[in-house]
């Protein structure tokens, strides 16, 4: 227990509550507040200038989520590590449950109906996968990472939930899980040639599958083509993305003004309160508004990444980095999707899209990032419970 002095810079065994609260990164809280407020205003507009049915419920969720965020921020990293694998297991169980007993909601995402609350396990998984991988890689040295066998476990840890999510079929979440995992693989120092190898194998496999007459039917290929290039099918799936681009473009530099978006208010824009909410915002506030919103997200990601860099433990670094990268994936995929840069995959815009689970998980993720910040000087051994290493 002598090494207990390594807790905190002051060398005290436990940080005091007051100290913890003092270390809360208030700029992050402020940025979150700004983004969420933009979300509330946009939901107000989406309901044609009414708090009902979306804005008031979203505010309630935000309040609950914020409380959880602060609570999570108080938990020290060791405790978080201890909970990592159990959380992962629970998430997997929920995913299996939803695959067999879940209900299909908007788009492909499935949810579990728990009375007043509807849970989307795939959103929860996006946070727990980071927690789990951070936990796992914390136990490996740089040399350990170099051994190919040590990568088998984390690959399995990722592929199992990714596969379950893909089965829903929620391509967006599956992709995000893989991207975030890959990012963590990169920063823990997995050798570059391994990525090159996987990439080459992937491309080769895809090429083979595409050209082999036995694997994909023509109609499946056609569906993939439409998915990749929706504008080739303007009557069907391309219609929505075309309308989204019209809404964005017609917003021009300064936008049409709050509550004045014609594309969204006249129902040309689909899912304006969820996946296409960025379009709605950009139509009403133009390029200037879009850039402000993007800047807020970028600042949040930068903040999270800086916290990761300042953390003294590998777990803290990976957790903060992974969650920040997760946030980046969220807003990049969502905005690129509504701008017609990538296929429509159904990823919500964090803190803004209407939806309870996303709001909760994103705020919990911020809580975790803040926890890393508060406990940045905490040191944890390779193996939990043995700070000696």
């Amino acid at each position: 227990m002598t090494l207990g002095y390594q807790f905190g810079s002051s060398g005290r065994e436990r940080m005091r509550w007051r100290e913890k609260i003092a270390h809360i990164s208030w700029p992050i809280v402020f940025l979150i507040g700004c983004v969420a407020s933009i979300g509330f205003a946009t939901l107000y507009s989406a309901a044609h200038g009414s708090a009902d049915p979306w804005m008031d419920r979203q505010i309630a969720r935000f309040a609950a989520g914020a409380a959880m965020m602060f609570a999570v921020a108080m938990i020290d990293l060791k405790t978080l590590m201890r909970f990592a694998y159990p959380c992962y297991l629970v998430s997997i169980v929920l995913l299996i449950w939803v695959d067999f007993a879940g209900q299909v909601g908007m788009g492909a995402q499935r949810w579990i109906d728990l009375g007043p609350v509807q849970l989307q396990p795939s959103e929860i998984m996006k946070v727990t996968i980071v927690l789990t991988l951070a936990r796992y890689f914390h136990g490996l040295s740089y040399e350990d990472v170099g051994r190919p066998l040590s990568l088998v476990i984390p690959i399995v840890l990722v592929l199992v939930p990714a596969g379950l999510v893909l089965k829903q079929p929620d391509l967006g979440t599956a992709g995000m899980l893989m991207m975030v995992a890959a990012a963590i693989f990169v920063v823990v120092g997995v050798r570059w040639w391994k990525f090159a190898l996987v990439l080459a194998l992937g491309i080769g496999a895809a090429y083979y599958a595409w050209n082999s007459p036995h694997i994909l039917h023509d109609y499946q290929k056609a569906r993939i083509m439409t998915f990749m290039d929706p504008e080739s099918d303007l009557q069907g799936s391309g219609y929505h993305i075309m309308q989204s681009k019209i809404a964005l473009g017609s917003g021009a530099m300064w936008g049409k003004g709050f509550l004045q978006g014609t594309q969204s208010h006249l129902d040309f824009l689909p899912e304006r309160q969820t996946d296409f909410i960025f379009t709605m915002f950009a139509e009403e506030f133009g390029m200037v508004g879009s850039l402000v919103l993007l800047s807020l997200y970028v600042l949040l990601v930068i903040y999270g990444t800086v916290i990761a860099l300042r953390s003294k433990t590998q777990f803290g670094r990976l957790l903060a980095f992974g969650l920040s990268f997760n946030l980046f994936c969220y807003f990049f995929i969502n905005t690129a999707m509504v701008m017609g840069l990538i296929p429509v995959v159904g990823v919500p815009l964090p803190l803004i899209s209407y939806g309870g689970t996303v709001m909760m998980t994103v705020l919990i993720a911020f809580g975790l990032i803040m926890s890393v910040n508060i406990h940045r000087d905490q040191r944890i051994g390779r193996r939990l419970g043995n700070e000696d290493t």
Binding site: V187, G249, S250, T262, L266, F268, M287, F321, A336
Partner: protein, 626 residues
């Protein structure tokens, strides 16, 4: 401890380096987003703004109200009446069948109408109004309005329908409106014509003045949502209503003429102002009801109209070409004087005229004895005009006839006018490829043979004789300034000397007002209203030598198609002429007997009303008989 920390430090270094790399990657991706935003919202903004407006803005044409047609005193001949329609919006009623049941309790709906409504409903979206019943009368409108709370989805809408208050009285001139057909749409690209329910002029004045009457369509800019529901009206630009048309007609006189004529199977009459060319009345019988064309004719109605031997749809006043018979002698007399024959030119009529081995008969078997030109006109002596025609030749006759307005369209502002025929040598060569025979000169000189003229042309001829040789042209469009009507004729003086015309006017005076004149029976005995005229009976069959031997059959004993055309041209008052008139009764028999009395009645009525000089509506109606 230090050794153990070393790899940990490597780990941190690798983490920092690779995080920086990832940061660069993220920055690059973010810049892609910014670039894309710039492309969409700045570079392509105009294109997408246009597309957004195309999405949400729906242009709807607002039909202008059609110009009205008035008579010279301001009575509406073609009017717009409100057309009340019951409309139904399906989404506003929970029980469609019940709403329709309740509605038909107030306004009966046939099974066919109901089926049509259901069919229409299946085609359109639930918020689109569809017509349930057109042309509701006032009682039905009030019944429906009163019960609107119990008729969810039903509403009353008003637009305009074309109404002709005088029905068949002026149908041939007014024409009618009907839905545009394929040809109309091809020739006229006014988008207004593609509106459902729009009608355009199909005949008569409605067709002639279609463009000014139609007006300019207005436009309503509507904001619609993705399924086409109208959210609000963004802008509204009222169109220009069609211009009203004031005609020269006196509908009172028109009514008289049409009714006076309708006792006959088939015929036409024209009354015109000899100085300014105002058509005061123009009748053609039988007539038709233009309202039938508005609602659309059934196939059998159309068939009946087309196969009628009396051709009710033809305006015979302008499109009926008749052999003018003896009325043409006016033209022959003028033509003769034009080439230097004097009124004193004398011919002895023994009842026939011998040309080589051919014998041409006068209508009076016993002959007229010695006649000069006015005398020949008074008696309508055929032999005199045979001789006159032979003397001057067919080409000279043609020149005179054309000067008086025959042989070409009179140029009235109505569609479908026919030019008639004034033959000469060149004409026969061109149309038949044969050379002219002298015998034909004789026949055509008395208005038989090839000569054809419309009642309007004959009326114009009479006008030009009566007005002292001004090239008056008939028209229906009323000059903007009615005061000018009483001034000197606005038409150019023709190369006709008044003395020549005076000879003819004398002859026409004697036709009516001298005891042995051919139309003495049809004279106007009212002092100051006397008319001058010329009879005509145009043969439509050949009288054989055999028939002549046993006696020419009376018209009354012939089938309708073989009877003579009865013609009469007149002007009045004889010493101070103002009005000219032409009456043609198709296969009516003798001109003096059948057309003359009608012309007399028309001229009396015309002078009583005296529409060219006064407004009977303002001055307490018609002039009393002195």
């Amino acid at each position: 401890m230090a050794l153990r920390k070393l790899p940990n430090r490597t780990q941190a270094r690798v983490f920092s380096r690779r995080t920086a790399l990832m940061g660069l990657g993220q920055a690059a991706l973010t810049m892609t987003l910014v670039g894309r935003l710039y492309y969409l919202q700045v570079l392509q903004a105009d294109k997408y703004r246009l597309l957004a407006d195309e999405n949400r803005i729906n242009l709807r044409l607002l039909p202008p109200s059609r110009g009205l047609i008035y008579d010279r005193f301001g009575l509406a001949l073609a009017d717009n009446y409100p057309n009340y329609r019951a409309m139904l919006v399906a989404e506003q009623t929970s029980n469609l069948a019940r709403t329709l049941d309740d509605f038909s309790a107030l306004v009966p709906l046939s099974e066919r109408e109901r089926a049509k409504i259901m069919k229409e409903l299946s085609r359109v979206r639930a918020f689109t109004p569809i017509p349930v019943k057109e042309d509701l009368d006032w009682d039905q409108v009030s019944a429906v309005e009163l019960n609107l709370p119990d008729l969810p989805g039903i509403s009353i809408e008003v637009d305009q329908k074309r109404v002709y208050p005088f029905a068949g009285i002026a149908a041939h001139m007014l024409g009618y409106v009907g839905a545009p057909n394929e040809d109309d749409l091809q020739q006229d690209n006014d988008p207004l014509l593609s509106l459902p329910g729009i009608r355009m002029g199909k005949n008569g004045l409605e067709k002639q003045y279609e463009h000014p009457l139609r007006g300019q369509a207005g436009q309503s800019e509507l904001e619609v949502n993705s399924v086409g529901r109208v959210i609000r009206e963004l802008a509204r630009e009222e169109g220009t209503p069609g211009k009203d048309l004031v005609t020269s007609l006196d509908i009172g006189l028109q009514q008289f003429v049409q009714q006076r004529l309708s006792a006959e199977f088939s015929g036409a009459a024209v009354v015109m102002d000899i100085y300014n060319g105002d058509i005061l009345a123009m009748a053609s019988t039988p007539t038709f009801d233009p309202a039938a064309f508005y609602r659309g004719l059934t196939a059998s109605e159309w068939q009946a109209l087309m196969s009628d031997q009396y051709r009710p749809l033809t305006n015979k006043a302008i499109a009926g070409q008749f052999a003018p018979g003896s009325t043409f002698k006016i033209a022959t007399a003028i033509a003769a004087q034009q080439v230097g024959v004097t009124p004193a030119f004398n011919v002895f009529c023994p009842g026939f005229y011998q040309l080589g081995n051919m014998r041409f008969h006068c209508w009076k078997k016993e002959g007229h004895g010695h006649l000069d030109m006015p005398g020949a006109l008074q008696n309508s002596c055929d032999v005199y005009f045979y001789e006159l025609s032979r003397t001057i030749g067919i080409d000279a006759i043609a020149v005179g006839a054309r000067e008086l307005g025959l042989g070409d369209v009179a140029g009235i502002d109505l569609p479908g006018e026919r030019p008639g025929v004034i033959p000469d040598r060149a004409w026969k060569k061109a149309t038949m490829g044969e050379s002219w025979h002298q015998g034909e000169t004789l026949i055509n000189g008395i208005g038989q043979g090839f000569v054809l003229a419309t009642p309007l042309q004959l009326c114009t001829m009479a006008s030009r004789v009566a007005n002292g040789g001004y090239a008056v042209k008939p028209h229906l469009f009323r000059a903007a300034d009615p005061q000018k009507a009483d001034g000197p004729s606005p038409y150019p003086k023709m190369k006709l000397e008044d003395s020549w015309l005076q000879t003819v006017r004398d002859g026409m005076d004697r036709v009516c007002n001298v005891v042995h004149g051919t139309a003495y029976q049809a004279r106007i005995p009212i002092p100051g209203m006397e008319m001058a005229g010329k009879t005509g009976s145009a043969q439509v069959r050949r009288i054989t030598m055999a028939e002549r031997a046993v006696g020419v059959r009376k018209n009354e004993s012939l089938p309708w198609k073989e009877r003579d055309h009865a013609l009469f041209v007149a002007f009045a008052p004889v010493h101070e002429p103002r009005y000219a008139c032409c009456v043609v009764i198709e296969h009516g028999g003798g001109g003096a007997l059948y057309a003359g009395p009608i012309a007399r009645d028309i001229m009396i009525e015309t002078q009583r009303r005296d529409p060219a000089r006064r407004n009977p509506n303002n001055e307490g109606g018609r002039r009393e008989m002195p």
